[in-house]
Amino acid sequence: MPTAADTIGALTERDYEYGFVTDVEQDTAPPGLSEEIIAFISAKKNEPQWLLDWRLAAYRGWLKMVEPTWANVRYEPIDYQSICYYAAPKSDDDRPKSLDEIDPEILATYEKLGIPLKEQEMLAGVAVDAVFDSVSVATTFREKLAELGVIFCSFSEAVQDHPELVRKYLGTVVPRRDNFFAALNSAVFSDGSFVYIPKGVRCPMELSTYFRINAMNTGQFERTLIIAEEGSYVSYLEGCTAPMRDENQLHAAVVELIAHEDAQIKYSTVQNWYPGDKEGVGGIYNFVTKRGLCEGRRSKISWTQVETGSAVTWKYPSCILRGDDSVGEFYSVAVSNNRQQADTGTKMIHVGKRTSSTIISKGISAGEGQNTYRGSVRILRSAEDARNFSQCDSMLIGDRCGAHTFPYIDVANPSAQMEHEASTSKIGEDQIFYCNQRGIDTEDAVSMIVNGFCKEVFRELPMEFAVEAQKLLEVSLEGSVG
């Protein structure tokens, strides 16, 4: 995001207004999971008793659960006792000193994405001033937001500063024992984001974790909670187009959204965690539970995701449409190249009257990638005159990859109107030849055809993100056609 980098650049030339205070003890919990470890995490974060109890209840639930196997993905068994569940932020001494110490392949990708040098350092976790200076950028943004009563801070800060809000909403959309990975997250979540938009406020800027420096390196068990009060609006951006390395192979995040009457939440994700090498070695396992509750009448929640990273993706951003006339949307582009596996989709649960939902899913498989759309639309008996439109398109590049579609539809009210469209296409040699004949080389032709295929999703992304996402797709699919 060049604009952010520019801002950082501008600010680094100024004197410190706030300085940087770091005072975290450098310690790490021993590997393994137990009630003691959870108590340790909670104590480290200076959490109130109720939150510790909440974590412990989740943990006890988790112990009785089994890892789900229904997803169309294969991976080595995860040893949950070998994972380290708490690591304090790294000190400067542990960080790379300069970009010279970073994997050249990652640097090459940064180049291709056109990421400015300073930003490359920040993404790669290099210990330089710019990293700390972005704290003051964040502070500036936060002051602006505070004037409107918008709260945008880390989850840990919210626990300290706004415990009543956290306590009121935490686990109301994704219960702590919702599923295996959500329960694990509830027990051990490290940090994440907290957003509160007061009644009637239209948040004037896209909220991005990018502006929250302490969002870096909290990826493993991230917890996000967004609350939009009556008549408010917020657009939230998660992730970053730059490839993110992480030493932690297992990621299990939970995101909860709550939209009250007439509120709108737009949640956009670009997920580009390390996918592993061409053989799939070392990639991230990304098991995410994202759910939004359209609590109030005429509320609206839109999920837009561009998933290009991770070795294994297991993710179903969903909407519970409880308020009458509420609207849920899901727009997704998922790419699996090389040995990547993605099992992703959405759930739309219609409870209120005249609720409507739209699902547009674009799956792209290349190399030996396996891409699965799994979606469920449920119309409950109470959902009079509900509507759903689903469109699931798959594109295959090459002949060693796979595309799978599992749409589940469950209608308990006969007044529902359901539409479902699906297609599978192979990127045609005739399309590529046509482009070639017009002077466009094969690599550009593929990215053009794929971007055209994804257009309906990209146009839902905020402008700047959309441009980056296109570029990202290009890089992700590089070399996928002979």
Partner: protein, 251 residues
């Protein structure tokens, strides 16, 4: 400009072209006529460099360069354009976006400056007017949902924007009603110039009433069996291809 010598080509193990000779000079319009299955479209695809078409013998030279050594996009950069018999749909990709990418890829390969959006738009409007293409067509995705006539007109528009030195029109008249045919022909005629050549591949003489060729070649069973002036097309109209098989001079 184009020199084809004793060209043999096969598709899926089947020999389709069995020794084609053709020479096209700048400024000329050549018509290649022949019945279905005579190898007309194969000739077009081979010229453009389609992968599955194997040249087994003979030579192809474009602007003095050996075509066999050139990838399809390099041929395009050199100034070869093929108007497809069946233009391909590219869903979601805007027609004008596609054309801009194509033009700039060609300009870049030639070491020329790429056009920015404003300059391109101006050129596009100009060219669209020249070949009488409705501007609404420019805003739609490439060929997606186009009628047969719209697709063919779009090919002519692309040709007008890319300004090739040699344009091969592969059955551009097929499936067109008479009005569309006239529009397409007028577009081609508007682009005729001293330094540009055309190879017009067609099944019917009809198109040649509107695009009057300098030379007409008859392709039968993978060989050019007769060559002559525009009057040959009329003779064909009268006698049919069957009337030519006897006493043909070979090519």
């Amino acid at each position: 400009m184009l020199r084809v010598r004793d060209l043999h080509a096969r598709v899926e193990q089947q020999e389709i072209l069995k020794g084609v000779d053709l020479e096209v000079k700048a400024g000329e319009v050549h018509a290649v006529m022949g019945p279905n299955g005579s190898g007309k479209s194969t000739l077009a695809q081979v010229l453009a460099g389609r992968e599955d078409y194997d040249v087994t013998a003979g030579s192809l030279e474009l602007f003095g360069e050996d075509l066999a050594e050139m990838a399809p996009e390099e041929r395009a950069h050199a100034g070869l354009f093929l108007a497809f018999q069946y233009p391909v749909e590219i869903p979601g990709v805007g027609n004008s976006y596609f054309l801009k990418a194509a033009l700039n890829a060609i300009r870049k390969a030639r070491g020329e400056n790429e056009l920015d959006a404003m300059d391109f738009l101006q050129l596009l409007r100009e060219r669209a007017e020249l070949v009488a293409v409705d501007e609404a067509l420019l805003r739609r995705p490439v060929n997606e949902g186009f009628s047969g006539g719209e697709k063919k007109r779009n090919e002519i528009l692309q040709m007008a924007v890319l300004e090739p030195r040699l344009a091969v029109l592969d059955e551009t008249d097929s499936g067109l009603d008479i009005d569309a045919l006239k529009t397409v022909a007028a577009g081609v005629n508007a682009l005729r110039s001293e330094d540009r050549a055309f190879v017009v591949i067609t099944h019917y003489q009809r198109l040649l009433n509107y695009i009057v060729p300098d030379h007409v070649h008859v392709l039968l069973d993978g060989r050019i069996v007769r060559s002559g002036g525009s009057e040959l097309a009329l003779e064909l109209e009268e006698k049919g291809y069957a009337g030519l098989t006897n006493g043909s001079s070979g090519g």
